[in-house]
């Protein structure tokens, strides 16, 4: 059944984001971003608007199958610090959301929120990022964190199809499988970013999609 949900989520992901966006949660002034993330354990949709390159605000919804809850709310992201270098860029972000959450099947809804921090460092060849997020769901508290490392097998020009090979290590202490390793491939073309991966520990597929407009 879990594999079934993952498959449905993966298909949905192709039709509509993710870790790149989690690490890069703001865009350029006036830009809208729509992102969907699915790894079989949870499925999320995040749509946001960036009034400046430092801020974005939008809606976030997450359905967490591994912990049986659903959250919907408003999310604000803030670029705390950016280091621009000749051949690299590094960022630190603060994220926060407030809204409502409900445990599956309970019918009750509670005030909920989360805070998170993200950081990344990227060149045209190498990529690494870290994200941690803590939730207070009213009826429960939970947290997760993830690290990514990636390499681009070739360096494309602006406008080319860019490909990245990555490994994500995710830790969800309250999950049935707390630590997972997910090899994934990222395709980045024009305004679209697609990631496809597989997590052997849970036997689930990852499929993330981002579009900016």
């Amino acid at each position: 059944m879990k594999i079934g949900f993952a498959a449905i989520g993966a298909v949905a992901a192709f039709a509509m984001d993710d870790g790149y966006a989690e690490a890069r949660p703001v865009s350029y002034p006036g830009d809208w971003t729509f992102m969907q993330k699915n790894n079989g354990d949870y499925y999320s949709i995040h749509a946001h608007y960036s009034p400046t390159f430092r801020d974005s605000i939008g809606l976030y919804s997450e359905r967490n199958w591994s912990e049986d809850w659903h959250f919907t709310g408003v999310q604000y992201n803030r670029l705390l610090k950016r280091w621009n270098e000749k051949t690299s860029q590094a960022n630190v972000y603060l994220k926060g959301g407030i809204g409502q959450a409900d445990p599956f099947g309970s019918g009750s809804v509670e005030l909920a929120g989360f805070v998170g921090i993200g950081a990344d460092w990227e060149t045209r060849r190498w990529f690494t990022s870290y994200e941690a997020r803590a939730y207070d769901l009213g009826f429960d508290q939970t947290a997760r964190q993830s690290v990514r490392v990636g390499v681009a097998p070739y360096i494309g020009d602006y406008g080319d199809l860019h490909t990245w090979l990555m490994l994500q290590v995710e830790n969800q202490p309250e999950s049935e499988t707390p630590t997972t390793f997910t090899p994934l491939v990222r395709f980045f073309y024009d305004v679209q970013l697609l990631e496809v991966g597989y997590t052997p520990e849970t036997e689930r597929f990852m499929a993330n999609w981002i579009v900016r407009f």
């Binding site: 890069r24 865009s27 350029y28 002034p29 006036g30 830009d31 400046t52 390159f53 670029l79 950016r82 280091w83 621009n84 270098e85 000749k86 051949t87 690299s88 860029q89 990227e122 060149t123 045209r124 360096i155 020009d157 602006y158 406008g159 080319d160 860019h162 980045f188 024009d190 305004v191 900016r212």
Partner: protein, 109 residues
């Protein structure tokens, strides 16, 4: 237009053009010249960075065309005839895009 009349028209234009230019106000000629700018930038490492720069600069009234060279960390800007952008204005646009300006090279074509 026949091949012969096209050749005659081309020859006539070749002779008349220098006359027309020599009779025009020098300031008018300057207006026709397109200024090319090369802005050296730090922090541009991906297509998304390039897109941000292209969008922000593209919205500026003085800008005719923008090209981003990720390999060299450069933004190439063609200004509209008669338009100008000061170094301060360029730095503001680069910062608004999220990056850091290093230097500007100007070329009048």
């Amino acid at each position: 237009m026949t091949k012969t009349s096209f050749v005659i028209a081309a020859i006539a234009m070749a002779f008349l053009s220098p006359v027309a230019l020599s009779q025009s106000d020098p300031s008018d000629t300057a207006q026709l010249e397109a200024t090319m700018l090369t802005v050296n930038v730090k922090g541009m490492v991906c297509d998304f960075c390039a897109r941000a720069v292209t969008k922000v600069f593209g919205k500026n009234d003085a800008v005719e065309k923008v090209h981003v060279d990720l390999d060299n960390g450069e933004i190439h800007i063609a200004l509209k005839p008669g338009a100008s952008l000061s170094d301060d204005e360029l730095e503001t646009l680069v910062k608004k895009s999220g990056y850091a300006m290093v230097s500007v090279d100007r070329e009048v074509s």
